[in-house]
Symmetry: C2
Subunit: 186 residues, 2 copies
């Protein structure tokens, strides 16, 4: 059984000019990625931001759907949102996975940029089936910083569609990657 | 070569109580589905709503990214948004496909509900490769109405993840379905 958690990084990521920034949290990232994570059996969905006001925003949104009016209106959304954890830094994600899943987690980053030594989807699917805890990391804004990518255990190959255009939202990319790594085949 | 257009229906769809409604347009549906459509070589992305104020909203959003400040800030978004067409009713979508692609389009609807006579992803992929114009239809809100579904030529099998939970956003479902029907394999 795969033992996969997901981290959505709002820092350290780059902007259009390749400066390192902390990005703002997008409400629909929380909804879409938690729903897809729940559908594909992901353990936990870490929303990573060092900004306290952004952490508070995430807490408020999650609380609305977990305990507030949203929970009564849409109990299915509650099940998905229950996967969300707030983390101030990626090291906190790793500590949490170590504590809850046991063992040293491996990290796999996603990047739309080609040209690096990447791991194919089929190979990553096999690695996940071995049961080692893995953290699959997505960047927001214009993507994860190069130093962050360089420290990962694996870089997943980019998604190729049917054209040279490759500018999916992180929400779409996460859905496709979950399906390729965890979806039922045949 | 597949000859596929996509329609995102805001009417006729159902709400939680199964009443037929016209839903509001969601800004990020336009962004995410147009970007995924462009990535996977979809011909056109029809946003279908009979509500004139909602049509105006779509026009404003698309115009911002096609001609306004958004076009200068992010030319890649412009390429995706260029696929968007506004339609008042599904019949207008079919007329447009007849006029632009030639031939009588087939319609394939998506539904998260199991239990109907559905077409498998592999079979639909083969049908698309024959080159007949197809329109792939997604519902917003709680999904397409039963009479609309009953009129379609094909109902696509539901997406199965790795759990019994199956409540993806339409943005995530569209991304996964494009990947399954149009993505590069192997």
């Amino acid at each position: 059984m795969p033992n996969l958690s997901v981290a959505l990084m709002h820092y350290p990521v780059v902007n259009k000019a390749d400066d390192t920034i902390a990005s703002a949290v997008t409400n629909l990232d929380l909804h879409d990625i938690s729903r897809a994570a729940k559908t594909y059996g992901v353990n936990r969905f870490f929303v990573v931001t060092p900004l306290v006001d952004q952490q508070t925003l995430v807490e408020r949104i999650v609380s609305h759907w977990m305990d507030g009016a949203g929970a009564r209106y849409n109990p299915k959304r509650r099940e998905a949102m229950a996967l969300i954890r707030i983390a101030g830094a990626f090291e906190d994600v790793l500590d949490s996975v170590r504590a809850e899943d046991g063992g040293e987690p491996k990290t796999v980053v996603t990047s739309a940029k080609a040209g690096k030594q990447t791991t194919r989807f089929g190979k990553m699917r096999s690695l996940l089936e071995e049961g080692t805890p893995f953290v699959l990391v997505f960047g927001t804004a214009w993507g994860l910083t190069e130093p962050f990518i360089a420290k990962a255990d694996y870089i997943l190959e980019p998604i190729t569609g049917a054209s040279e255009y490759n500018h999916l939202s992180v929400r779409s990319a996460a859905a496709i990657i979950f399906d390729r790594l965890l979806g039922r085949t045949g």
